[in-house]
């Protein structure tokens, strides 16, 4: 079953690659990259079982975190043409814990 699941995940990665290459909008590509990342995370988890190396799950965790950062960076860059400005205001009750 793990085998079938990994094949299915690879198939969906390929489908996502097609959407990534076809576009047409930039947003379609961002969506496809993000979704591709999710599928890679799942694939790494499944693959860790397939080859019997639990270490791969650590890589999956790392991807789940990093994928988010790059998606945000791409969007912010596209939207504001810069990386340096703030996307969000600080919360009003800042520094409450100290």
């Amino acid at each position: 079953m793990i085998f079938f699941a990994s094949i299915m995940l690879m198939a969906s990665m390929t489908l996502m690659l097609i959407r990534l290459l076809r576009g047409p909008e930039l947003y379609d590509r961002v969506l496809a990259v993000n979704s591709f990342g999710t599928k890679t995370v799942l694939f790494l988890c499944v693959f860790a079982f397939l080859i019997g190396r639990p270490d791969a799950v650590d890589i999956a965790i790392l991807y789940a975190l990093m994928n988010f950062i790059s998606t945000i960076a791409i969007l912010k860059f596209f939207r504001y043409r810069a990386l340096d400005i703030a996307l969000s205001r600080m919360n009003r009750n800042r520094g409450a814990g100290s």
Binding site: M8, S12, L15, D28, V46
Partner: protein, 125 residues
Amino acid sequence: MSELLHYLEIARHILASLSLLGGGFFVVAGAIGVLRMPDFYTRVHAAGVTDTLGAVLVLFGLILLSGFTLLSAKLALVGVFLLLTSPTATHAVTNAAHIAGLKPRLGTYRTAPPPEEDNTKGPIA
């Protein structure tokens, strides 16, 4: 007693297999949807299928397989991070598209483009 445990073990593996296959099905269905849907906003929904039920079912199947170990805790962690980040990223993408003025196709249609007047009304019905 040991017989009961034995059956439980079998049930666990069957459930895990079903969950993995179901997860794979939803992931593939989501991917097909991303390919088939007509415009960006509708594709987002198809991608959501993969991100939610597909991901959770796959991870749940793996957790069932590994049993009560630290590995399942890590898999659950993967699930939590995915469920936290993927809707946020999806929201961010659609928000960026909306703000940049990408107009969604609205109205009713069967995979064909909508009638022209629906597009002229602006993004919000």
